[in-house]
């Protein structure tokens, strides 16, 4: 696990369907010289540099010149449906809203102080220029993607819970060989949905902390505590008593049960999916390809495969949102997922993989390069799907 990556994900999940719009702070100039539409929000005005634009990808550069926190919305003709929004613009700061808008009537709104209906104005989007094409209903595509992904998370947590129960029984009963066998394959269900699990900040440290992650006085529990007892170091190690094992095992089952219940209430968003995929590759890059995740069992390649699985599922669910503009990104992701999988396949052995400490330095380097090659285009997925 990596400590403290929890908040962005929690925030992303909590914002649910509202958080679909892409916004960045790129300090755009007020006149929108780069083709963007300049918006100036003050405490009582909302100036938009134009009220008519051709259809396609629109970029609003919103500058807050007021004294309160402001928001900017692009609303559908009914004045209710949010096509895109950018929130939390502090006084004096600028943010962008990038949104794909087909021809139609819209409304713009600044909301200084974040209350009320905001300062509204009509906004017209003309026909999409020749040669461009935009997906008909991105909101529907996003819904489909998040529903599919939610089903995947549910399936993985079900399997994780079932597997953890089996593992816990073997571990507590002193069936060390059986527990070792179940350790890596069960953890794969955790690793596939790691960003979701980590979004519950309290469950991650008690289920997946590594010894080095602990603070003084913190109890060490969860998977890696069991790992060390199953693959004990030769020196200076006191094996756990069966009572201690029982305690660790029971807590793992309880905590995994809790995880499962919480994921049932979780709503996913397109940006959470895409960010989650990117985070999974980060995990591989900093933890698995360095052999730091499983320092006692050396089963890092199981985790590696599971992280890649989780990222690939999120990408495949989001794929319909990658429209013609993003064909290059799509091709690059496709190619690099395939290449990385091909490389991983070389290290399959039986139902699992070779142990990480059996890899040579050049094999590790090769894996690291393939991870970096995939992680680069994957880091651009969020911006492409939230338009």
């Amino acid at each position: 696990m990596t400590p403290n990556r929890t908040l962005p994900t929690v925030a992303a999940l909590a914002l649910a369907a509202l958080a679909l719009a892409g916004c960045t702070d790129n300090n755009a100039t007020a006149d929108g010289g780069d083709g963007s539409i300049a918006v100036t929000s003050t405490d009582d005005t909302c100036e938009v540099s134009t009220d008519t634009v051709p259809g396609g990808t629109l970029k609003f550069s919103v500058k807050n010149e007021g004294s309160q926190v402001t928001e900017f919305y692009l609303l559908a003709d009914d004045g209710l449906r949010i096509v895109g929004e950018v929130e939390n613009i502090g006084p004096g700061l600028s943010r962008d809203l990038v949104v794909v808008a087909p021809e139609g009537k819209y409304a713009t709104a600044c909301k200084p102080g974040m209350v009320g209906d905001g300062i509204r104005a009509d906004f017209a989007v003309g026909p999409v220029p020749e040669g461009q094409e935009i997906s008909a209903d991105r909101a529907a595509l996003q819904d489909t993607a998040t529903t599919q992904y939610g089903a995947y998370v549910k399936d993985q947590t079900d399997q994780l819970l079932a597997g953890t129960k089996k593992f816990a029984r073997a571990f507590a009963d002193g069936e060390t060989d059986q527990a070792r066998k179940l350790y890596a394959s069960t953890r794969m269900h955790w690793e596939r949905i790691e960003p979701v699990a980590e979004s519950f900040g309290d469950l991650d440290p008690i289920l997946d902390a590594r010894e080095a992650d602990l603070e003084p006085g913190q109890d060490w529990t969860g998977w890696h505590r069991a790992e060390k007892d199953l693959w004990p170091p030769k020196d200076d190690y006191q094996a756990m008593s069966s009572a201690q094992r029982q305690e660790i095992a029971d807590q793992m089952v309880d905590d995994t049960q809790e995880l499962k219940e919480r994921t049932l209430d979780t709503e996913f968003t397109a940006d959470a999916l895409a960010n989650g995929a990117k985070e999974l590759l980060d995990e591989v890059a900093t933890g698995k390809v360095t052999g730091e995740e499983e320092i006692w069992s050396h089963t890092d390649l199981w985790d590696f495969q599971a992280n890649v699985d989780g990222a690939r599922i999120a990408y495949e669910d989001l794929k319909p949102l990658l429209d013609r503009d993003d064909a290059k990104l799509d091709a690059s992701l496709d190619k690099n997922f395939t290449a990385l999988q091909k490389l991983l396949d070389q290290y399959q052995r039986g139902d699992g993989f070779v142990y990480f400490d059996e890899l040579t330095e050049s094999q590790k380097q090769e894996l690291a390069s393939a991870v970096d090659a995939l992680a680069e285009p994957l880091s651009r997925l969020t911006a492409a799907v939230v338009k």
Partner: protein
């Protein structure tokens, strides 16, 4: 300068020297000083000019003072820091090392070679010069050299060393394990530390190299670190520098102009008994922090700014305003405060740390690659504080647990050192109070 000597000049050439060595001969002969008349006079004059010209003077940071230089001094751009294990067991040898270092540091920070103006090229011709020479012709470059003492100088493996165990300051603790620490022994701790900072990396490296050489037989290098760019400003005259995350770092750093804050948060005062030698001193915390710059660079600007709590370009807090406006941690957005409670700026802010501040003086580093095709790069964090127990440990513990940046950081080296006061007496030396009061 020897190249400006006209061919067929009047300097008598010593008979035994071969023609092929003529230029060098001239220079060296001159270096002996006074022996060879004209040339000696010429060389001596230029050496004096070098340090007395107005522009050269501006390059020199005074060595002597109540405090050691290199702390409040306007942060230079380059750094070379080295820690040493003392190999001698004799107290007198340790003292003689500090005396020799003091003389060498005073010379080098004054723009002179070790051993004085002719230290790099004078002396016996059949002996190696006292100074290694690569700083010749270069200005003093605001060189400062700051030294400190590690806990292991006072006591090691439960035994006192050099008769100093009663002098161990209480604040010179063993730092605790912070969550996520991946410290490497070969990059951590040490009995002595030397921080050399300058505008020119060659000057900083020259200083460390010569101090290492002087120490042979008495102390040996344990680790050494080069920093290529400052990440902190210690003066309001400096623009805030950026770290390798591309963000301005240390906007709220203690600046030398804030005399009250410096007195309160940096310099030790009122110490008595066995610790009295630390008055006008401070504590140096050094942490080698590897940054996972590759994964950081793949992170959306949204998350980067969320993690830091400031905008990337201006360094303005996300609660609004400009770089130097105070962050407003209460200002709410649609889903909680605009500045996340576990953002870097929130966790580092004095309001979350019982009002304590640090004088940070860190540097960006890169040390080749990590063997997996990534740069081994990051921040060599240096902070000077009045007491690490109040001014570093609580903050670092909170950050290691909660900071959103933690997933991009890995602490690989660590050291804590007691930094003695500066030298004021004519025949004084660095650390004198530790041994003689």
């Amino acid at each position: 300068m020897e190249e400006q000597q006209p061919e067929g000049e009047t300097v008598p050439e010593p008979q035994e020297r071969r023609p092929g060595l003529r230029r060098r001969t001239l220079f060296t002969a001159a270096g002996i000083g006074g022996v060879v008349g004209v040339a000696a006079g010429a060389t001596g004059a230029s050496a004096v000019e070098r340090v007395s010209a107005p522009e050269a003077d501006q390059d020199i940071v005074p060595f002597r003072g109540d405090h050691q230089a290199g702390i409040e001094t306007e942060a230079q751009d380059r750094m070379h820091t080295a820690a040493f294990d003392v190999t001698t067991t004799e107290r007198e040898e340790l003292i003689s090392l500090l005396k020799d270092w003091t003389a060498a540091i005073e010379s080098m920070t004054g723009g002179q070679p070790v051993g004085g103006p002719e230290g790099a090229t004078g002396g016996a011709y059949d002996a190696p010069p006292e100074d290694t020479g690569e700083a010749l012709d270069l200005p003093a470059s605001h060189l400062t050299v700051t030294i400190g003492f590690g806990r292991t100088l006072f006591t090691k493996d439960g035994k006192g060393r050099f008769g100093l165990s009663e002098r161990l300051p209480e604040a010179l603790i063993e730092l605790p394990h912070f969550p996520g620490d991946a410290l490497e022994e070969k990059r951590s701790d040490g009995d002595l530390v030397v921080q050399a900072c300058a505008d020119d990396p060659q000057i900083a490296v020259h200083a460390v190299r010569n101090l290492v050489r002087i120490a042979f037989g008495r102390a040996r290098v344990r680790w050494s670190q080069i920093g290529f760019g400052r990440t902190s400003s210690t003066s309001t005259d400096q623009v805030t520098a950026r770290n390798l995350f591309g963000f301005k770092d240390g906007t709220a750093n203690v600046k030398s102009q804030e005399t009250q804050a410096v007195a309160e948060h940096v310099w030790v005062s009122g110490a008595t008994g066995g610790e009295a030698w630390m008055n006008e001193g401070t504590y140096m915390v050094a942490r080698r922090i590897r940054m996972h710059i590759e994964t950081w660079d793949r992170t959306s600007l949204r998350e980067q700014e969320l993690d830091i709590g400031r905008t990337k370009r201006e360094g303005a807090p996300l609660s609004g305003g400009g770089e130097f406006d105070e962050p407003d941690f209460e200002l709410k957005g649609s889903a909680g405060p605009l500045i996340a409670g576990d953002s870097h700026v929130a966790l580092a802010h004095p309001s979350r740390n019982a009002g304590v501040r640090m004088l940070r003086r860190g540097f960006n580093y890169t040390d080749g690659s990590d063997g997996l095709g990534r740069l081994d790069a990051g921040l060599f964090f240096i902070a000077y504080v009045v007491d690490p127990r109040t001014h570093y440990v609580p903050m670092q513990m909170a950050m290691a647990k909660n900071d959103l940046l933690v997933e991009y950081l890995k602490h690989t080296g660590s050291g804590l050192f007691a930094v003695p006061p500066g030298v004021t007496e004519p025949d004084g030396y660095l650390g004198q109070g530790l041994f003689e009061t």
